[in-house]
Amino acid sequence: MKLCDICGKKEATLVVRQLDKDGKATDLNVCAECAKKRGLTGVEESLPESGAVITELKAKVDESDAKVVCTRCGMSFAEFKRVGKLGCADCYQAFAEKLRPIIRRLHGSVQHIGKTANQGRKRAQERLEIQRLRAELEKAIKQEDYEKAAALRDLLKRREDETGS
């Protein structure tokens, strides 16, 4: 049993590492009471019983899930987890990061294959074209073909403005 370096009477329950101005570290064994007196607080509160740690961690996750909100319908990811249903089409975009692992678990994939919707098909084609133009632009810059790069940049800008992406 190590005794407290400050009072020398009680059992030291934590180690406080102090850095002097040269960056040299000194370790100090301190009991709970002295730690409190010296204002070394927050240590005890941050490490409660393990059951409580889980509850707290879960609350933190829930809190972060509650902050991920779909701006169109107002549904939070926490609410989705509770009801199991999404609020609108935009939720898929708003929760994309959190939904991908769920969708992968359910379907073994996160990329749709098969029929595309009419308006979806148009958008997918536009996106592909923009990606293709960006690749071409990079290639032109690498090859120092600045005239071509300038033309591609103008075209790309026009396409991006059209599609709002």
Partner: protein, 347 residues
């Protein structure tokens, strides 16, 4: 608004391929409109808007005049269960409190639910093992409706649905199988586990949870994203083809080695149905399914497959009450059900 309870769906005609084993094939798509929130977030006026928009699209594509569009008062408990028992609507459509609608084609092969879990869910049923018909008709309806409606879609996630379990193709295909041969030879567990391992969902058609009545099973795809519509159909169809072959082999084995025992079971069931004065739905379902088995094996020649398959639906509570035109208590139902079956089985 009229119901024709005794005239039951063409999908139960007992005429499709492999109809000795397969009762029906079903193809279902879910779709949502892009401009309206999903059902859990819809306001009343939005529910009405979707209902009207879909009805209008059905009229414009020529479907509406080939059937009936049911609303509110027809779609609540207990009477709404009439459609659930006939496999035309889900229990959720009847129990939910949304402004809802149900389109049913005259021959009951096409039905479309509005404002259930998704804005639109439509299905096509075909008699027997017949994906060509069921998928062909469903894809055609999908194309036509899409000409009228703008659907929620993302290039990454596909057709967007209220629940991520349906996202992607939003396609669910199912085959309703009658597998008494595999149950009697105790091979069923093996077969069903195999289907599950291949990514399919297997459950009893009647009864809650894993309880299966009448040896009737439903096999469908679990996953809806990452495979094309054609691939999904191919996998379910391929696995079911194999199950049908196993069932045929089991039936051959039984007829070869245990013919008298099978005949005994079949004729006892027919005898009970012809003699009973009080019968529960569970007992009637089990006995009728055994009789269906006898007809499929050629042991019973005086009845047709379609007659027996249809009876399996007509004896269910809501249908029985609509047919008889009376509200009946549980005990009254059991008595009238027995009479109804006796009359139908007289030769």
């Amino acid at each position: 608004m009229k119901l024709a309870p005794e005239k039951i769906g063409a999908w139960l005609s007992g005429s499709g391929p492999d109809s000795d084993v397969v009762i029906s094939t079903r193809v279902r798509f879910a779709r949502n409109l892009v401009d309206v929130p999903f059902v859990v977030r819809m306001k009343q006026f939005e529910q009405e808007l979707v209902l009207e928009t879909v009805r209008w699209a059905l009229a414009d594509t020529g479907y509406l005049k080939q059937g009936q569009f049911f609303e509110e008062e027809m779609l609540v408990e207990p009477d709404g269960m009439y459609f659930v028992e006939r496999h035309l609507a889900s229990p959720d459509l009847i129990t939910c409190k949304n402004r809802k609608g149900l389109f049913v084609s005259e021959d009951e092969t096409v039905s479309l639910m509005v404002n259930e879990e998704d804005h639109i869910r439509f299905q096509v049923l075909a008699s027997g093992f017949d994906f060509a018909t069921a998928f062909g008709k469903a894809a055609e309806l999908d194309e036509k409706l899409e000409g009228q409606l703008a659907y929620a879609f993302s290039p990454e996630f596909g057709f967007l649905t209220a629940c991520p379990t349906n996202v992607g193709t939003a396609l669910r295909v199912s085959v309703f199988l009658h597998l008494p041969g595999l149950v009697l030879t105790r091979e069923i567990e093996k077969v069903l586990r195999g289907a599950y391992a291949l990514g399919l969902l297997v459950r009893g058609v009647y009864g809650e949870g894993s309880e299966t009545r009448g040896n009737l099973f439903q096999v469908s795809n679990r996953q809806t994203l990452g495979q094309s519509e054609a691939e999904i159909v191919e996998v379910v169809s391929g696995v079911c083809r194999q199950i049908i072959d196993y069932e045929h082999k089991a039936r051959q084995f039984l007829m070869h080695n245990l013919r008298v025992e099978v005949e005994d079971k079949v004729f006892r069931s027919l005898g009970l149905l012809r003699g009973a004065r009080i019968i529960s739905m569970e007992e009637a379902t089990n006995l009728l399914a055994t009789v269906r088995f006898g007809v499929a094996l050629g042991i019973i020649n005086e009845l047709k497959l379609a007659e027996v398959s249809q009876l399996l639906i007509l004896i269910r509570p809501a249908n029985l009450q609509v047919i008889l035109g009376e509200k009946l208590t549980g005990a009254e139902q059991e008595e009238r059900r027995a009479t109804f079956i006796r009359e139908k089985l007289v030769r």
